[in-house]
């Protein structure tokens, strides 16, 4: 009887099921189209794009658009800048977050909860909130247009989320390990470096991918703080490039692909991890 009912439920409405798949495939195409569009027009000449072949595959694959974007469009430089800024910002915020999380979750000293709540304020504070004073201070100190102009704020803005995610991982580590270490004569600092840190490896990638996306794609601070072309990151570089090449779409397409492919590459291999980090970031926030 029960089995029959289950069967009935499963078999119910094959039309609805077909509709569901049609819809899912349709929405998948809508979401894949921009990537397809970007990739194909990055390889076309203006004649093709402005002519009849706006959405088809390129008739002639113009890799020279990439050469133009990388050399005359400076995208190679912007790519390296983005890589440098992002990597250092992730490293700094990760180290600071690991240390802070250790002090918050594994040492009892009275103000643990308050300190944590203080850091968590950063989850709700909009990045715009501090832009005016930070800009004024940096410009008075002649500190605009350097790599560190972006690295320091980026690490600060990634910090709250990193602490949140690290906390989730660190409380899972059994406290008996700390006690055992203490009995063996390890101090608090030694316990952190020798016992806890090696066990936090899974957290590194979760925090890393989240911070990576935040920094790699950041536009507002970069746009306001960086005005010279030597220190531009990819998002600002793309904006500048599109201003110069308003009539030449191919190289702009190439620039868009250059800015996007590392992310999509990561995503191809780490989609589960990336999704997990977004969920970890939101569920408690």
């Amino acid at each position: 009887m029960e089995n029959n009912q289950m069967e009935a439920v499963k078999k119910s409405n094959p039309a609805a099921k077909v509709l569901m798949y049609i819809f899912l495939v349709f929405w998948a195409l809508v979401n894949l189209f921009p990537i397809y569009f970007m990739f194909t027009f990055s390889l076309k000449s203006n004649e093709e794009i402005f002519g009849s072949n706006i959405i088809g595959l390129p008739k002639e694959w113009l890799w020279s658009n990439y050469v133009t974007a990388l050399n005359t469009g400076n995208m190679a430089l912007y790519f390296v800048n983005s890589l440098l800024v992002t990597t250092l910002a992730i490293a700094i915020s990760l180290i600071a977050a690991m240390m802070a999380t250790y002090a918050i979750t594994r040492i009892k000293w009275g103000l643990n909860k308050l300190t944590n709540a203080f850091f968590m304020l950063g989850l709700t504070i909009p990045i715009q909130a501090s832009i005016v004073p930070v800009y004024v201070v940096l410009s008075k100190m002649h500190w605009l247009n350097k790599y560190s102009t972006l690295i320091v704020p980026y690490s600060a803005f990634a910090l709250s989320m990193s602490i949140l995610i690290c906390t989730g991982f660190m409380v899972e580590i059994p406290y008996a390990l700390d006690e055992a270490a203490r009995i063996d004569g390890c101090g608090l600092a030694e316990t952190f470096f020798r016992i806890i840190l090696p066990l936090m490896k899974p957290a590194v990638s979760t925090v890393g991918v989240y911070s990576y996306l935040q920094c790699w794609n950041e536009f507002m601070f970069a746009n306001v703080f960086i005005s010279d072309s030597k220190h531009r990151t990819l998002p600002v570089g793309i904006k500048a490039l599109s201003g110069q090449h308003t009539t030449d779409w191919g190289p702009i397409g190439a620039a868009l692909v250059i800015a996007t492919f590392p992310t999509l590459g990561f995503y191809l291999f780490l989609s589960g991890k990336i999704q997990e980090s977004f969920i970890a970031g939101a569920v408690k926030g």
Partner: protein, 295 residues
């Protein structure tokens, strides 16, 4: 003896917190304090400035040339579409994927993809779609003989705001879908199956079992959608630069204008502070609204 250990422990705690606190306080907390202080000054960023109390706040809401009310209105329109179009759509997708279709993971990963792409890239792509002469949209309209509907999408006051809203709403559907999907997956299969055995249709299961369970996630999504709309900047800067005739300005673009076009750093700080207040106020309001509903 004990106090000596305490001192040592205190020093360790301090040293461990130092890098985090230094970053956090110098880049976030102290600047906000300065913003609040400077929001009460007529200040060009370099002189001492003059204290003018709440005059900036009053001017913000009364002086039409600052366009703050336009910016706020645009943000609210975006928030409206986010909450009433983006979120229901995201929920619908999450519920569909929750029914374990074939290739569930692949669909999930594809639907989430736009979230990962930089808004600047998304903006550039949409500029190519909106381009009046060669853009996909106008050429599509030509192809289906709806040439009359063609517009200079981002340059026409009537369509500019819509041109910003469509990509913004689209890009983050996947984000909310992922959060809700995680919640949907958390609903125990026993509960689902029990309801199915009692003769509930899949829609009834979603309506009476799944949605109530994931309500806390929906609340988080609503908060993110509204505060995200208040903070929006990237797509406006790329697609319309706040134009035409400042009709698509949002608080963040106005804030930038105050610094670079008008040298009004005091007013810029005022906009910053208003943004913080609005974000927190909406977060509290939404939380309260959800609590009300529960009772």
């Amino acid at each position: 003896m004990k106090s000596k250990i305490d001192v040592k422990k205190g020093i360790t705690v301090f040293l461990f917190l130092l890098p985090g606190l230094a970053l956090f306080i110098s880049i976030l907390i102290a600047p906000i304090a300065v913003s609040v202080y400077r929001s009460m000054y007529d200040w060009n960023g370099f002189s001492e400035g003059t204290f003018i109390g709440f005059a900036n706040y009053i001017e913000l809401f009364t002086n039409g040339s600052i366009k703050f009310m336009t910016g706020l209105k645009n943000s609210m329109i975006l928030a409206f579409f986010s909450v009433f179009v983006q979120l229901p759509f995201a929920l619908f997708l999450a519920l569909l994927l929750g029914r374990k279709p074939k290739k569930e993971r692949a669909f999930l990963s594809i639907f989430f993809m736009p979230v990962l792409i930089s808004t600047v890239v998304i903006g550039q792509l949409w500029l190519k779609i909106y381009n009046p002469d060669y853009g996909l949209l106008n050429r599509f309209l030509d192809a289906v003989h709806l040439g009359d509907w063609k517009h200079v999408w981002v340059g026409d006051v009537k369509t500019a705001l819509g041109s910003v809203i469509v990509p913004t709403v689209w890009q983050y559907i996947g984000y909310h879908m992922l959060l809700m999907y995680a919640g949907v997956k958390g609903v125990s299969t026993d509960l689902r199956e029990a309801a199915m055995l009692d003769g509930a249709t899949p829609w009834q299961v979603d309506r009476y079992i799944v949605i109530p369970v994931i309500k806390p996630i929906i609340r988080v999504s609503v908060i993110f959608a509204v505060t995200g709309s208040l903070k929006t900047y990237d797509l406006v800067r790329i697609l319309t630069e706040g134009g035409p005739f400042q009709s698509t300005e949002v608080p963040s673009t106005l804030l930038e204008n105050m610094l670079f076009l008008r040298n009004r750093y005091g007013m810029g700080s005022t906009i910053s502070v208003m943004l913080i207040i609005l974000c927190f106020a909406f977060a509290l309001l939404i939380t309260a609204a959800f609590r009300e509903k529960d009772e």
